[in-house]
Symmetry: C2
């Protein structure tokens, strides 16, 4: 990882020294251009003799159709690597493309579990938004618009070859997006923390410290978007929230049922990822807390200083504090706030909990998810 | 890293799958045989057709002469990789050997800064004692008996290719050695924590959590040496104490002046590493605390729950608590306790602070080190 002011101008040099002379430059919308990142990366590529082809227009809740388009461009040209300049959607897309380009079938096969990731094309991440930690992990989340399925793929082959984070290139991220991304990061830590295991004290300490840091940094970053020091600390903390540090050695690897419930909402209404989490997460926590009351109570005490002697009361108060934090960032807490029709809840529940259900701390079937959606309404 | 019961039996398989058929098996004394690790590794090598040559007898405060012996064995035979089965001394030695075997000059050149590490021979670490974190970092500390210099070498090329930690293979580590190793681990975290920078809140959180974990785990491990769960958590925490987690993004990379002062004692009297630290560390802390009072006070409050409103008082009380912890493990707090003659202090100080001095939070010259040794007497 290259971290700090100006690192994005090193992309061309790193590609050239890794032996690549022709790349696909993948990005999203206007923001990567407005922030100057596009120009900086393009100059850096040109300066080191690296040719590039472009594929712009990656959207939030990125679509598998865009992955297919990019794979087509790579196959029609002599492209050797991918540079993904953007936030989580762009980097997640690059992972799917990198797996899909050297695979005979359709790239969605990886997401539908029809195929396992084989040989991949190397990709480089230039993180212009810090939220999902995609820049420091091997997970990709993509949506199939036709079937309204948004789902994740994790494979050790999908780590970026190199990642570049210049916090000053993130100054123009809208305040609303900082808050949404921050909620995502906090949820990532909680989803691994609460998964079943009070068995590695050190990782629980790390997770608690990380959430305390995030709770301080997110409102500070939203209030001071051009403060380099705050943005740098936040960018680093958001990456650490889903880079493996928090669950190393855990017997559980995270219960992402709340992410799955959020994904169903995003797939159907293109809902903002952070908003789906601020709504669903506290209600998921209430629904599953008795499966790991020790962790829920410990979290409340150590992160929020809750001093109730009863684990049950402490856990509940901790969940309230999480809700209050989300609300303080202007995030919605109810599905009705984002315009979800109540009559859709059953269909959503079926999509969020396909097959044998979702989650690990507590395996949730369709009726469990429906209960959580109703509580979130 | 392969971590858990039985992983040492996978050494042969991993070597074979990495393409190696002939290795040097490096180890220390009788303990690796008594614990059954030697037999397990040898069986595993034989089971996968990996030939091995032996080099035993690596001692605590390992000597460069043993490195030269091992390099000779490797050069006289067709050896492709090294397996280091032991504690920090054995793994530190393997790092020097791996650098020295493909270097034309004498291996001490790396430690005396006459040469930079070039091509290395891959080495595999089987950690039978958890203390130094050598199994998860790229630092090697070796002693030149003739000149009484014990010094460290750090280079990214010196990470183990793969590390194996079976906590149950550490059950027979003597209780005294658990305490000494634990003191080493706690000091590693403090040395990076106090180095100058209150600039990455997350890494300070991680370090504080790690020390809290270690303070609980070390006495538990000493009292229950055959409790797998405790030994496993301790082995992992000790590795994390010097694997880079605590200083990622820090502007300082650690002030190891107290380690250097300890090394001078070990080189001259073959003193136990953990004992040199329990004596020197608190006095180093008192001597330098005004260079980073924020961190010293924060550490006291967050690790020991010190509630003094004055930073100065909190910092001093925190240092007292560190001393008390070391004493509670039966460790010495005074140089006189380990038989150091008072008249040697000047010579020791010259060896601990060669050239322009030692340390970074506060650069210590010979007279500073002498003051600290005197305060430690």
């Amino acid at each position: 990882m290259f971290f700090g002011r100006g690192v994005n101008s090193r992309v061309g040099e790193e590609l050239a020294s890794d032996g690549f002379s022709s790349v696909l430059l993948l990005y999203g919308g206007a923001s990567v251009k407005a922030a100057g990142v596009y120009d900086e990366v393009v100059r850096s590529l040109a300066g080191h003799g690296v040719r590039f082809f472009e594929c712009g227009g990656v959207k939030p809740n990125p679509s598998v159709s865009k992955l297919r388009e990019a794979i087509g461009i790579i196959r029609s040209n002599e492209i050797e690597a991918i540079v993904a300049a953007g936030g989580g959607s762009v980097i997640d897309s690059a992972k799917g493309i990198s797996a899909g380009v050297r695979y005979d079938g359709d790239v969605w096969d990886f997401y539908s579990r029809k195929a396992q990731v084989g040989p991949v094309m190397p990709f480089y991440a230039v993180a212009t938004v810090s939220a999902t930690a995609s820049e420091m992990n091997c997970t990709s989340v993509v949506t199939d618009d036709e079937t309204e399925v948004k789902t994740g793929l994790t494979d050790f082959a999908l780590f970026p070859s190199k990642t570049f984070i210049d916090p000053s290139a993130q100054f123009s991220v809208p305040v609303k997006q900082i808050a949404d991304g921050g909620i995502d990061a906090v949820c990532h830590v909680m989803e691994t923390y609460f998964d079943g295991t009070p068995d590695v004290d050190l990782q629980m300490e790390y997770a608690e410290g990380l959430v305390r840091s995030l709770l301080e940094l997110i409102p500070k970053a939203a209030a001071n978007p051009r403060d380099y020091e705050i943005r740098a600390q936040y960018a680093w903390a958001a990456a650490c929230a889903l880079n493996g540090t928090t669950w190393a050695g855990h017997s559980g690897k995270g219960d992402f049922a709340s992410h799955a419930m959020g994904h169903a909402l995003s797939a159907k209404y293109d809902a903002v990822h952070g908003e789906t989490l601020s709504i669903v997460m506290p209600n998921w926590m209430r629904y599953v807390m008795h499966g790991n009351l020790y962790a829920f109570a410990r979290f409340a005490r150590r992160v929020f200083g809750v001093d109730s002697p009863s684990d049950e009361d402490a856990a509940r108060e901790g969940i309230e504090r999480v809700s209050e934090f989300f609300r303080s960032l202007g995030a919605p807490l109810r599905l009705r706030e984002i315009g979800v029709p109540e009559e859709d809840l059953e269909d959503l529940a079926r999509k969020a909990a396909p097959g044998s259900g979702v989650g690990s701390l507590k395996k949730l079937g369709v009726s469990d998810v429906l209960d959580i959606y109703k509580a979130s309404y």
